[in-house]
């Protein structure tokens, strides 16, 4: 009885290892494995814990923003920058934490907006929301 049991356990161990290896090489799983906040990112939990003025900026395309967005967020995209930046500046004051989000885990749009605000507008506290719009939706049960 021991030999078949040992063989079965061996096969199960090999299958588990293969499944893990296959999963680890799949891009979606790889993304999850490396899914730790970068230096310029903030998590939703940290944003909620933040004490002080907070300004949400939505870097997604206009149609997505129209469908739904984080409450009180303002749209700011490269396409409509000059038309949208004035409203952002009206809401901003020194000491405001700005959090930019878009809709993909590896979204470049929010990072582009954040960099531009730091470089050209001297906004001193700009972060990118880790997980973006998806993180917000999951947390709010949408």
């Amino acid at each position: 009885m021991r030999e078949p049991l040992r063989s079965l356990l061996g096969i199960l161990a090999i299958a588990t290892l293969l499944a893990a290896a296959t999963a680890a090489f799949r891009p979606g799983v790889r993304a999850l494995l490396r899914d730790a906040p970068r230096a310029d990112e903030t998590t939703l939990a940290a944003a909620r814990d933040h004490r002080g003025p907070l300004l949400w900026l939505d870097a997604r395309p206009a149609a997505d923003f129209s469908r739904a967005h984080i409450p009180e967020a303002l749209p700011l995209t490269a396409e409509e920058w000059d038309a949208q930046i004035v409203a952002v500046i009206q809401r901003w004051q020194p000491g405001t934490r700005v959090i930019v989000y878009c809709d993909d885990r590896a979204c470049g749009a929010s990072r582009h907006v954040a960099e531009k605000l730091r470089r050209e507008y001297q906004f001193d506290d700009v972060r990118v929301l880790h997980g973006g719009w998806h993180a917000w939706r999951e947390a709010s049960g949408q």
Binding site: R26, D82, V86, G108, E120
Partner: protein, 226 residues
């Protein structure tokens, strides 16, 4: 002797099981293998659109159908002529990238999803020449700060045949003037004088002409009292 005979047999069974499991794992992972997971393009300041194509091969053992191509930016429009690919078959999708008012390095991640539920991400990196650069595009005065004029410096990229023709303030209480500075003909200084009141702002539209055909381009900078 009996023991000697059973050992290879057990090893053979294990090897068969290993091969079966490996085959199952391979069959389940029909995935795309990209020629290059990241493409970079240099884009000139006045280029309105550029194209790129991502080539791939179906490296899995099953046919695969691309169900979605999702760029992380509305500036990028993907196109796919054919969506289902046999094992070993080559394919490609193209993108049209519109830089708009962007400048510098801009990365667009593009997520490709297939019918087996797998997704992979490729990236298009645009290195966009800046037509104009500013030392800042926003000046402000805090509540108790003296209302002295502040300056914004604008520099056109070389060989653009560009100049600043007008600076227009949306709020006339902000005084706005500009002048050419330096000896390159590419640098301009915009001086903004604020009103005494707090909580005012102005959007200053900078009218420029660019290129041999003197195309009109506008840029906005902002001033605010707090």
């Amino acid at each position: 002797m009996r023991r000697m005979a059973t050992l290879p047999l057990r090893a053979s069974r294990r090897a068969s099981a290993f091969v079966a499991v490996a085959a199952l794992a391979t069959a389940a992972s029909a995935e795309l293998k990209w020629d290059s997971a990241e493409l970079t393009a240099k884009i000139r300041a006045q280029e309105a659109e550029t194209h790129a194509s991502f080539g791939f091969v179906n490296a899995g053992a099953q046919p695969v159908t691309i169900t979605e191509i999702r760029p992380g930016c509305g500036c990028t429009v993907p196109a796919l002529a054919k969506s289902t690919f046999a094992p070993g078959e080559r394919g490609e999708f193209t993108i049209a990238y519109h830089p708009g008012n962007r400048e510098g390095r801009h990365r667009v991640d593009i997520t490709v999803t297939t019918d087996d539920g797998a997704s992979s991400t490729v990236a298009f990196v645009a290195d966009i020449e800046a037509l104009v650069s500013f030392d800042t595009r926003f000046v402000f005065w805090k509540g108790n700060e003296p209302r002295h004029p502040k300056r914004i410096r604008l520099t056109f990229a070389p060989d653009q045949h560009a100049r600043l023709t007008e600076a227009q303030s949306s709020d006339p209480r902000f005084g706005v003037t500009f002048r050419a500075v330096g000896d390159t003909g590419r640098e301009f200084e915009i001086e903004v004088t604020p009103p005494a009141e707090v909580l005012n702002y102005t959007a200053i539209t900078l009218h420029t002409v660019v290129g041999e055909d003197q195309t009109a381009r506008q840029f906005t900078v902002v001033a605010r009292t707090m």
